[in-house]
Amino acid sequence: MAAEPYVTVRDLSVGWGGVPLLRGLDFDVLRGECFAILGGSGSGKSTLMRFLIGLEEPLAGSVDIAGVGAPSLHEGRPSFGVMFQGGALFGSLTLRENLALPLRAWTDLDERTVDVLVAAKLDLVGLGGAEELLPEELSGGMRKRAAIARALVLETDLLFLDEPSAGLDPVTAVELDDLILGLVGELGITVVLVTHELPSLFRVADRCLLLDRERGGIATIGVPAELRDGARDAFVRHFFNRSSPREVTT
């Protein structure tokens, strides 16, 4: 694993309407790793991701991506790709059009080259030949794959994935995990993954951050298996071992 920080978060406070939901967040995502943001429902995982990618202005603190400062979505071609929880594919566009959209906006490529790139990205995620399908014609897992392909189409090396395996059957979830492993292991893409699915976490994440809603911040950061086996904190043990809170607070 490379040691160079790619995403650097310092003293970050995030929330809505001036009211902080999470405070004092400090962590680094290292280049080439799969870093998971973990937590229970309502702990602020997806909210944190929105602030990391610049969709919202932080209440305090900073996010730095690749040493060039906070992400700004007004400054042209984005330096990262995002897959939202439901895929967020444009419903009126075919998969080809969904993937071609950022290519046409941010590159000078001719249509034939665009088609070649779109087909290659769809092949990469296992959706080759589905170019002319509309999102409504796809299953949940296929929509997420297509969204990953769209997030990759501008040749980014940083991906943010919001709950990729949520709502999928175990087989499809494993297939998606394998895809993420391939992106990290074979293409060297850095992945920031929001999830609450422990099986998926243990399969794909190099490190993880666990959010605790009660604390309003980070409960722990570390390697998932080590946290599962050696955590002293009751909340962390509870989360990783899925035991009753009453058993671990004694």
């Binding site: 439901g86 419903g91 906006a105």
Partner: protein
């Protein structure tokens, strides 16, 4: 007799055909020194939960006066979770008033259900402190809401204005290739209802106008009345109201759905500005389509007036058209037609602002769509009023 267990949490199927429900029996209170015993008989079930609740309410004051209350369940003949929950609520109220409540004679499965609900019971939240009320408070709250809405409108207009130079710099981030399709949706598909509505308005104006003008012997001026009224006011206004309902609702619902399904966030994450990508092409489409629809509405409205008037007048088609041509000066036409521009801007801004402000799910989309239609119709009428006042001041 074993109790027919209907299942804690209602997870187990109930075969009601096996036997009829036993009749409900009201609980009875018995006294014995410091102890009160509430004897429950018959079924504790969903169908009798209301009656049980009312009967227990009646016994509460009397039972709460004792140090100990025993809920005697030996006579219970069948139960489900609803019956147990009502009984637990009775227990909570007695406990809160200082009584010690115990169960007696409970069958094992009933006791398990009791324990399960008891272990998961949360104390009811205290009622919220009464907030300020009264007319003054409501006026203040409405004023604040209006101020927030005005601020949001200004922020939206500012954001749109700010996006214009960005859209020029990054032309490829604006989907101009969608413009023909948008114009078709706004103009082509809206043409039928605009034509029909303006035709009917023209017919109404003609019928009413002839009858009223006849009273003064001025029926020969019907062509002038229809032409000026349609070109300056009715044509642009009716067309814009139809477009507010049709296109305004469409814009708001489309953008609202994109917002709640994170498509707008996805656009932003790919570096697209929603103002440039979504609002600007829709604004352009309406700016192109509404003047054309207005022109069409004007013509059809005038024709409707003629169709209604001629059978009631001793006037030839040629004479009517000549009178119309003389009355419908370019000034009258232009003063009405030019209003299509501010109407298009207002409808697009309001509808897109409402759509992009959507948070939540399908209900929020419906709510925002309704607001978009109501606000844009109001804005159209307000803009028309301002034009009428200005024209009156300028005596044009």
């Amino acid at each position: 007799m074993a109790l027919p267990v209907r299942g804690p949490l209602c997870l187990r199927a109930v075969d009601r055909s096996m036997r009829p429900d036993p009749p409900y029996e009201a609980p009875a209170l018995e006294h014995g020194g410091a102890e009160a015993r509430v004897r429950l008989r018959g079924p504790l079930a969903l169908v009798t939960a209301g009656a049980l609740r009312r009967d227990l309410d009646r016994l509460e004051d009397e039972a709460a006066g004792r140090q100990a209350v025993v809920l005697d369940l030996a006579g219970v003949d069948g139960f489900d979770s609803a019956g147990i929950v009502v009984l637990l609520d009775f227990e909570r109220r007695l406990t809160a008033r200082g009584a010690s409540v115990t169960l007696a004679g409970a069958e094992a499965s009933l006791a398990r259900t009791w324990d399960l609900y008891l272990s998961r019971r949360r104390e009811p939240a205290p009622p919220p402190a009464p907030g300020p009320s009264g007319l003054l408070h409501r006026v203040g709250a409405a004023t604040l809401d209006a101020a927030h809405a005005a601020r949001a409108a200004l922020v939206f207009i500012g954001g749109f204005t700010e996006s214009l130079p960005r859209a020029v710099r990054r032309r490829r981030t604006v989907p101009w290739r969608d413009l023909p399709d948008l114009v078709q949706r706004v103009g082509g598909e809206g043409m039928g209802i605009v034509v029909l509505t303006n035709l009917l308005i023209g017919l109404i104006t003609g019928f009413v106008g002839v009858l009223q003008l006849k009273r003064f012997g001025a029926q020969s001026f019907i062509a002038e009345m229809v032409a000026i009224g349609q070109l300056r006011e009715l044509g642009p206004l009716i067309t814009a109201i139809i477009v507010s309902g049709r296109t305004g609702a469409g814009y708001a619902a489309e953008l609202g759905t994109m917002k709640v399904s994170e498509e707008v966030d996805a656009l932003r994450s790919m570096g697209f500005d929603p103002m440039s990508f979504l609002v600007l092409p829709r604004m352009a489409a309406l700016l192109l389509a509404l003047p054309i629809l207005t022109l069409l509405g004007d013509l059809v409205g005038v024709a409707g007036g003629m169709i209604a008037s001629l059978p009631m007048l001793d006037m030839s088609v040629g004479s009517y058209l000549e009178a119309t041509r003389e009355a419908a000066t370019p000034t009258h036409f232009f003063l009405g037609w030019i209003k299509a521009v501010p109407f298009a801007v207002a409808i697009t801004w309001i509808a897109c602002a409402q759509g992009l402000a959507t948070r939540g799910g399908a209900e929020a989309v419906g709510h925002r769509t309704t607001r978009a239609v109501v606000f844009s119709i109001f804005a159209v009428i307000a803009i028309d009023s301002v034009h009428a006042m200005v024209y009156a001041l300028l005596e044009v």
